[in-house]
Symmetry: none
DNA sequence: ACCGGGTTTGAGGATCCCTTGAGGAAGCAC
DNA sequence: GTGCTTCCTCAAGGGATCCTCAAACCCGGT
């Protein structure tokens, strides 16, 4: 499950690459369309994340050339409001697109979705922890067979933990994924949501505290 | 319509076999890759259910060998979270896969789907939600047997939701699919159409709102 | 030009839930 | 045990989000 990330801005590129790696996607970063074409042939990635605003050649051409040589799913990255680029991108073979600025949550969700479609409706859209089932598509959660109504943040929080089932997610990471902020000052907000999530899940001890670090899911 | 089940865990294997038999699929259970290859040649099953975690040889190899000798549809069974195995499985010729733990409903649905694809039967172009039937070809909707007259936008909206039955569609996505715009400022338009759609469908709670995200269909 | 259904837009209001604060409990080092 | 840090509980304000209800607008068809 390898990702090829094509992004010329080294800052954004590195940030995206780290996010992806942290979430279980080994990622190779290249900075130009030419390098991208070579990498597709050589490394056979499972998904290509392609910034449409490249320096050496335009994104559409790269997109088309990749598509001529491979059936790998392509996720286009476009600037905000650039509707024309979006439509043309989809015509040139991109499977979906992301609009800057890109939230971690959306990035992961789109990758999941694109993989699911590419592999013929397969990647499971649900995660099971004990008798708790998290349905990422329906944004629905059942515990012991009974449906549980969660709010937006509560679900996002649970989903972030569920995607990395069992792994410890640092508070900063959760804040970034769910709230989109890199600010640790909202610590109490996070705690409050963990609390309400726990109370809704009942006496199940699904969300565990890792003191000094963050939270993780039981298995 | 015979199923070949390849599963080394006798407990799980027997449970699956019984479930299948109860639901109309005569099933043979074998516990190793070697036996599986022999059984494929000899019994000519209509579907193979293959656990990727076998003791004697790895699932991928078995998968590939089966595929070399036969065009029988293969449903891979993988552990949870084992994304890599999933992708490789699909590359090695599996048609779809199931993730443990396997629910009966999902098992049967996947077998149906795989058989439908393999035998080239037409996929039904109607989606059913409760007693509401959405016919995507005829652009017609019936609820409780009675035909319901919907306007264009109302139908497009319902159809967009129905195609991804149950999954949450973000507001932005609905706006783009139904209205062709990437502008979130038309939010009230969407809401108005949801309202009229709901009122036409009666007290059925078919269209559910997911606060902060979008809408989805009940099941 | 005139309807008439379909669609969009606006304002108002109801509901939900996110955030924030303070105080207390629990964990950890010594 | 003592002190310190970290985390949890609880409740309430205020804001975001969505629904309702009308009215205006658009656009074919007659």
């Amino acid at each position: 499950m390898r990702v090829l990330l094509v992004e010329d801005d080294p800052i954004l590129g590195d940030a995206l690459r780290r996010t992806l790696v942290r979430n279980g996607f080994p990622t190779e970063l290249v900075g130009s369309g030419t390098a991208a074409l070579a990498a597709v042939a050589e490394r056979e990635p499972d998904v290509v994340l392609l910034d449409m605003g490249l320096p050496d050649r335009d994104g559409l051409g790269v997109c088309r050339e990749i598509r001529e040589r491979s059936r790998v799913p392509i996720l286009a990255i476009t600037g905000r409001g650039d509707v024309a680029a979006r439509v043309q991108g989809l015509r040139s073979g991109a499977d979906d697109y992301l609009v800057k600025p890109i939230s971690t949550e959306e990035l992961l969700a789109r990758i999941d979705a694109v993989l699911r479609r590419a592999t013929g409706a397969a990647v499971a859209a649900t995660v099971t922890v004990g008798d708790v089932i998290v349905d990422l598509d329906r944004r629905a959660v059942t515990a012991g067979g009974a449906e549980i109504a969660l709010t937006r943040k509560e679900f996002d929080l649970l989903a972030a933990l569920a995607r990395r089932e069992g792994a410890v997610l640092p508070r900063t990471e959760l804040l970034e994924q769910v709230w989109g902020i890199a600010d640790a000052s909202a610590a109490r907000t996070l705690e409050a949501h963990v609390a309400s999530l726990r109370s809704k899940l009942g006496e199940r001890d699904v969300v565990l505290t890792v003191r000094g670090v963050g939270y993780r899911l039981a298995r």
